[in-house]
Symmetry: C2
Subunit: 202 residues, 2 copies
Amino acid sequence: VRINPEKKEDRERVAQELLRVTLRLASEHGFVSLGLREVARAANIAPTSFYRHFADMEELGRALIQGLAAPFIEGWAAPVPAQERAEALAATIASRALSATGEDPELMRFILAEERGAIAGFRQALAGLLSTVSVRLKDAIWSEVPGAGASAEQAAEAILVLILAACAELLDQGSERSRAIAERLGAQIRALLAGAGVKGKP
Amino acid sequence: VRINPEKKEDRERVAQELLRVTLRLASEHGFVSLGLREVARAANIAPTSFYRHFADMEELGRALIQGLAAPFIEGWAAPVPAQERAEALAATIASRALSATGEDPELMRFILAEERGAIAGFRQALAGLLSTVSVRLKDAIWSEVPGAGASAEQAAEAILVLILAACAELLDQGSERSRAIAERLGAQIRALLAGAGVKGKP
DNA sequence: TGTACATCAGTGAACGCGCGTTCACTGATGTAC
DNA sequence: TGTACATCAGTGAACGCGCGTTCACTGATGTAC
């Protein structure tokens, strides 16, 4: 029994719509407050049709993390040709995260909220995704400062935390303060790297 | 019409019980998922009795922030005799925040979750409470490093962000890793202060 | 001191409503031969 | 090519349930005189 690619596309489109609609509603009331009927209503499907895609809201939440949050976050630390210096990598990740916040604020709100939220499984999943970013940063510092040791990891983790905080502030403050937020983040990152033994531009 | 202090105590006791019970349930399912009946049930009062204390869950949430979160957070930066050095102040705030996390994890979870959560009013209220901590830290840096300028504020805000992230990790990791978390936080703070021009212990 | 009245936290009954879930059905599409 | 069957997303009706809220009442306590 082969599958019609056209029908498969239809099915996928509805599932994606459920995910996007959930992000929109979650940015207003919070994911845990959402009900199956509320989401189905916003996606223009019958409540019972929800079950054709997800067993319940928890499964939908997991799909959100694996299907939308994961590529979103992994994109921040995606490789860039000819960029091996740790400070430049940190600046790139920061810049990408801030841009991503502007491009998909609802997804960013979901990530920031659930990273600190009450659902332990979501916290763990998001921590895992975010750790791949800080690990990449740590490796860059490590290779640049041979004797860095644990301080490379501490610095990398601190930088990621500062980046997320800046994204959270950007979400609330609006884009008119985005310049100030980006500059402050840059200064914080440079201070941290200096403290970890990474020298700035000569 | 004077008020019987004994009755007033009773009333206050029930209200406090509602707040504590809400914190407990919120740490399990998230504040926005809680219903009035669920909270009343856990506090052993009839659903209708809830209205004797709060108009709705939103008002209870505001009381949580003003009544429990505010003194909790303000305690971190409470003055200590003979402690003017910025690095020592930062270490004190960090230590107090980590201890507070161990002593009242449910309140800490609430603060961390709602600081990033979907309710804008809660985010703003908590940001205001937390900013008093970073302002105190900024002042200490400022008075110690006269030429610090904006970098004092940037460093103070970064330190607070790192402290909160450490508390979040402590909540999840359990107390067996508390030593490692505290030491990493200390190293991150020292690195940041060094980058902001604050010299470590001579 | 006694009596009448006011205050107020707590409560049970009752309401209308939206929820999650089940079920049997439709209709479009694909497969077998 | 035509016919019979399989698959499957979508749906409306229906269910039992818990929700938020209103109302009138109780009973303990305080106040007035």
